[in-house]
Every structure is written in structure tokens, then in C-alpha cells.
Amino acid sequence: MPAASLPVETVSLFLALLFVGAMIIIVTAVVLGVIRLATGRLPAAVLPLVNEVRPVALVLAFIAPTTAMLGSLYYSEIAGFDPCHLCWVQRFLMYPSSILLGVALLMKRPSLAWLPFQLSLVGLGVSTYHRVEQQWPNLFSESCDPLNPCSGRWVNTWGFVTIPTMAFAAFGLVCVFVPLSLLGPKEATS
């Protein structure tokens, strides 16, 4: 394994902390989404915050996959972790999302963000499948691939934050912030 300029443990802990923050945002967004679906409106208490975040939602959506992309490049190119097949699938979904969201921001064409949103929806499924395979490899095979198994965990911070876990969070943030940026009228307080 090539020597890393930044310790893998430090980078993994940094990304795991970001993962925690991301999951707080995602869970909050899901809860608010369910409330809005059920009642037709968001709770009044959160409207000011939602309306403050909406103008920067596309920037936040861009930051998530870009951070994930840089993290994955660190793991493969600096730490020397070979991506498995499912890691590559998630890369194919994550990297274009980052680039397209950057283009949408630079060209001020927010509608371009719908494609990364759709890619991220697929990515959520792939990262969930990958994480399940890591947790219960017996579900998918009778033996462990000795070369580069998708069930292996190059990163395992706190015993559960693995690379697909972090990818899930990045995809999830895109799925939260893109609709927030593009969908629906502002529910501004008067």
C-alpha cells in the first residue's frame, strides 16, 4: 500500500464526521418532507430556515458529491485502496453529478441539476445495496472474493461508517438540496 501524505485515519474520521452532519440534514429533510406530504405545508417554525437555505441549496448540493469525489480519489490514488465493482458504479454516478452541478452553478442553469438528482437517486440504491453486502456478505455468496471483494471494508470508522455509507450520505444530500432549490414556490413568512 503506498504511503499516504495524510493519514487514512484522519481523513476517514473527517469524512465520518461530515457523514454524521449529512445524515442529520437528510433525516430532518425526510421528516419535513413527510410532514409536508401529509399536511400540505411545512411547520411554520421551519419556514424561515427553509427559505434561507433555498437560495444556496444548489451550492450545498454541489459541495456534497464534490467532497465525496475528492474523498474517493484520496482513497484510491493516495491511500492506495482499489475500488471494487460497486465502488466504480457509485463513482460513475457521483462524479458526473459533481461536474453537472458545477456546470449548473457556473452557467446559472439550475434546471441542469435534475440529471444529478436522478443519478443520485440511483446512487442511493447502489450504495444501499453495497452497504447491505458489506454487512451481510453471506446473503450474496458462499465465499469471499480474495482479490477485491465488494463485501470488504477499506474504511470502517466507528464500526459502521464505510465508503458506501458515506456515498449514501452524499447522494442523499443531492436528493435533498436539488428539489429544495428547484421545486415549489417559496413558502415565505409574511
Binding site: 473527517f14 452532519g21 444556496v56 458462499e142 480474495p146 471494508r153 470502517n156
Partner: protein
């Protein structure tokens, strides 16, 4: 709305500043915590050089269970002689010593190995290993970033694995020279180090005993 629009640039900057501060804070916490973490005083070298004498065996075919002469080209070939060390640094030799043997290649992160190791250990404890036959382990594919690390803590732990176990090299040379099948990967040898069968993946107790009986009998699988 007017006041919201006029202050929009400021609030946008404020939110992005909060995000930046959170990310910087996470980075700072990560550096402080990981710098403060000391080395494990019980740590041992989990890999060690292995000397290999002989020809490499053909790649393990993608078949489940125990192979036979119709699907495994390695059967009938002589396995390489391995000279290495266990986790305590004692020399371990796997060679043509006149005794049939089963060589278990296990990886600490592999859930199938984690399931198989206690079963093998239990069978040995129950005296199910045929008379005159040996079992060896090879700890291979070690990766500090993966689960159940280090392998010595796992194999010396509660699973009752009292089997002489060699450390594979960092490049997994022992595994590769034996044909690198899916874990747990087992190579069954007669007393001349001739391959009788190989298996990739978890076997149940009956399957393990059957493979051992075949090995002790010295008859190539499928003959």
C-alpha cells in the same frame, strides 16, 4: 419579501460560512483525535516474508464446494513448499513431510472465514480430525482498514483456533502460489504435497469431515 431579497446575499454568505466552519471544525477534530490515538501496545506484525519452493498451482476454478479431477487442474500436481512464521515468530513449514494435511487460507475480514474457523476448531477438539492428518492455517489478505483486524487477535481469541498458522506475506504470495480461491480457501494435500482437492467457501461440519476423510485416505477427489 423585500427585506428578504435585500438581505439575501448576506444570509446566503452566512449559511455557506456556517457550512465552511462545520467542515473546518470536522477537519480539526479529526486531526486532533487521530493524532492523539496511540499505537496498540499489543500490536504484532500481521504479515511476514514467506519462502516458496516449487511451481505455482493453477488458479482455483469458480466452483462451489470441494473440487474434483474433472474441474480442477491442480489435482495431482505438487503444491509448493512454504516456509514462514506464525504470529509469535516461530518457524512454520508446510511441506511433503509424509503426513496428509489440509491448509486453510483465511482472511480476518471475511465473514465466511469467521464462521468456518470455530467449526473447524470445534471438530478438531472433538477428535474428528483423522489420525495422522494435520491442519494448518495461513492468515492472508491482511488489511488494517478492514473489519476484525488484527488477525492474530481473532485467531488467538475465543474461537479456539489451536492450529499452527502461518502469516502470509504482504503480497499474499502463499495464497497466490496455491491458486487463490474464494475464502475460506482450503487445499487438501497428501503426504507428498500432492493436491487431492481444493475448496473455496464455507463448508458445513459434514462437508469438512468428508474432505478430511478424503485427504486422510490419500485418494484424489473424483477418483
Amino acid at each position: 419579501m423585500t427585506s428578504s431579497s435585500s438581505s439575501g446575499g448576506g444570509s446566503r454568505g452566512f449559511i455557506l460560512a456556517i457550512v465552511a466552519v462545520c467542515m473546518l471544525g470536522a477537519g480539526l477534530i479529526a486531526v486532533v483525535i487521530s493524532t492523539g490515538a496511540g499505537d496498540d501496545p499489543d500490536a504484532v506484525e500481521t504479515t511476514a516474508p514467506v519462502t516458496i519452493e516449487g511451481d505455482i498451482l493453477p488458479q482455483m476454478p469458480s466452483v462451489g464446494g470441494v473440487t474434483n479431477a474433472s474441474n480442477d487442474d491442480a489435482i495431482g500436481q505438487t503444491a509448493p513448499r512454504l516456509v514462514g512464521t506464525d504470529f509469535d515468530g516461530n518457524e512454520v513449514v508446510i511441506e511433503a513431510d509424509g503426513r496428509p494435511k489440509a491448509v486453510y487460507f483465511v482472511a480476518h475480514w471475511c465473514s465466511h472465514c469467521q464462521a468456518e474457523v470455530p467449526v473447524v476448531a470445534s471438530l478438531i477438539d472433538q477428535g474428528k480430525l483423522p489420525e495422522g492428518m494435520d491442519v494448518y492455517g495461513v492468515s492472508t489478505s491482511v488489511n488494517a482498514g478492514q473489519g476484525n483486524y488484527p488477525p492474530n487477535r481473532w485467531l488467538d481469541g475465543a474461537d479456539g483456533w489451536n492450529v499452527t498458522t502461518m502469516r502470509d506475506s504482504e503480497e499474499n504470495e502463499a495464497l497466490i502460489n496455491f491458486g487463490a480461491g474464494g475464502f475460506p480457501f482450503v487445499v487438501y494435500l497428501d503426504g507428498d504435497n500432492t493436491v487431492l482437492a481444493r475448496s473455496a467457501g464455507e463448508l458445513d461440519s459434514a462437508g469438512i469431515e468428508q474432505a478430511w476423510a478424503l485427504t486422510a485416505g490419500g485418494v484424489p477427489s473424483g477418483s
